[in-house]
């Protein structure tokens, strides 16, 4: 079974630029999560999707971050414009509907200069 795929693996941008990350969850997993992990900390939820609907985006900085999951499969997370404090690893995870275990992708490491 293929795992969660993410791209790109690394991205370096200047502040105020925009950037997009892509995630392909495990086949058949209805629930998809985006987490932000700042160096030295644990992951923090940005947004949770159930199929193509948003379940929880309470911690998403909506003035600059957006995410979508069209067709309930792949998802894209965008930052526009980026700030220095957005430097972090962005992790995508998926689970079956109501599933307790989340399966994580390798993450995208973002550096904002």
């Amino acid at each position: 079974e293929a795992g969660v795929a993410q791209s790109p693996r690394y991205k370096i941008i200047e502040k105020r630029q925009s950037v997009a990350f892509w995630c392909n969850p495990i086949s058949g997993h209805a629930t998809l999560y985006w987490y932000q992990q700042i160096l030295g900390q644990g992951p923090k939820l940005l947004i949770q999707f159930q199929n193509n609907g948003v379940v929880d985006d309470s911690q998403l900085p909506k003035d600059r971050f957006s995410a979508e999951r069209l067709k309930g499969v792949d998802s894209t997370l965008k930052i526009q414009p980026a700030k220095l404090e957005d430097s972090a690893v962005y992790l995508c995870a998926s689970s079956s509907a109501g599933g307790e275990t989340q399966y994580f992708g390798p993450g995208t490491r973002l550096l904002v200069l």
Binding site: Q41, G42, L91, G99, T101, F104, G107
Partner: protein, 111 residues
């Protein structure tokens, strides 16, 4: 906000020794999970314990849960160099909801 607090922040041991990491959390939970993260990689699920369970085993892993104290511990027996990683506890207030992670314990196992 962070739910869990792992203790210690860092742990260095020799191969063959046991490693114990502790986690405390703040609110009522449905389950608690432990994940491992190797440097520069994603998180790997290790073990899950539900709020009505007190102890679970998986291979060299033993996890305990004390809901009255809102705390959990992870024991890795007979550590190996390959166990070197960061370990995170994560809690879910309901099954199928997002996980709330602690800051992690960095384990270093030297040969």
């Amino acid at each position: 906000s962070q739910q869990g607090e792992e203790d210690p922040q860092a742990l260095s041991i020799q191969e063959g020794e046991n490693a114990t990491m502790n986690c405390s959390y703040k609110t009522s939970i449905n389950n608690l999970q432990w994940y491992r993260q190797n440097s520069g990689r994603g998180l790997v699920h290790l073990i899950l314990i539900r709020s009505n369970e007190r102890e679970k085993h998986s291979g060299r892993l033993r996890v305990t849960l004390d809901t009255s104290k809102k705390s959990s511990s992870l024991l890795i027996t007979a550590s190996r160099a390959a166990d070197t990683a960061s370990y995170f506890c994560a809690t879910a207030v309901q099954a199928g909801t997002a996980l709330i992670f602690g800051k992690g314990t960095t384990l270093s196992v030297s040969s």
